[in-house]
Symmetry: D2
Subunit: 107 residues, 4 copies
């Protein structure tokens, strides 16, 4: 698990877009972790393939919605702030956001 | 978490397509559970938005690959066995597999 | 554009899964072609970016639905017939269908 | 086909993000239109299902890449310009871009 790889001075911990909704993101990830454990148990108890596939699709959708919410917070705060700064900071922020959007679309 | 909703006599626990690879599926789901916990910790420690998004995409891809592997096992065993039985059993098995494929494609 | 790359004796032209719905598939592809032409015109007439993106998503969904319908026909006919033949023919048909499903999920 | 539905004064035709690459977008859409026609012909000539599915996935990927390129141009120009204006204009631009990203991810 790669921790923070960006030394992002223009975007401090308390100004990350998701900061306001941190408690809700933590609760959502706790739920997703529980769903993953539930799928582990279904496989362990020889559940029917299609039932397991249904649960895996539910977790994938939940993760996708976490990504979309994080992305919206990021665009509203970090990318918008960087755009006001202008120059290379703005260009890098948009390029970084696009790389994240590509991963989201292609995964 | 809905457990097994199908009373699938034609597809017993030990003949589920994934039975042979059960240990590997259990290990993969344990890893995914750990990744979800790691994302929870990144949010808790105010990691940078893009780093979190990168990890969420990695977990989504890992889940997608579990789905594709489960689906392949299911087609090779349960759907193929049902096709040999023919009639309504075969039709239902294909319809069920297609519903799972639709969820996978649309999630 | 690669034409038919498979010399598939077990699956003749008139027994392809989609044969019964051929007219509808042709109409759907004609509509998709028209939508692509419409997007070309929007770009040519300097339409607003978001409006173009909306149309591109609509065409992508239409294509995805064509794929899912073709896949269902293929599973119901070609894969089911091969399963009854059994042996290598059945294994190859499932492997081929899974490769198509992977492309569909990952695209 | 809905033409321009937005009366976007802050984003004039010649300042649309994609304007610089207009010729390339037109060429890409012309190619996609041709690919759609090619699929129509494959169906008409009773091509093998899997070969058709392969072509449909290729067109879907091509469309997805057009969407990602349009989105990048839009973020770099229209969204960045609106962020500098600030206020409601900036908020609406981000919300609009997120709606397009959601459609792209979910299609």
């Amino acid at each position: 698990m790669t921790e923070q790889t960006h030394d992002d001075t223009s975007c401090h911990a308390d100004t990350h877009g998701y900061h306001e909704n941190k408690a809700r993101y933590l609760a959502r990830m706790r739920r997703i972790e529980g769903q993953a454990r539930g799928i582990h148990r279904m496989i362990d108890e020889d559940a029917y393939c299609i039932d397991i596939l249904t649960q895996v699709s539910a977790v994938t959708s939940a993760l996708e919605n976490v990504s979309l919410a994080l992305l919206e917070d990021h665009l509203e705060h970090c990318v918008t702030n960087a755009a006001r700064e202008g120059g290379v900071v703005a260009e890098e922020k948009v390029a970084e956001a696009m790389a994240a959007i590509r991963r989201l679309v292609k995964s």
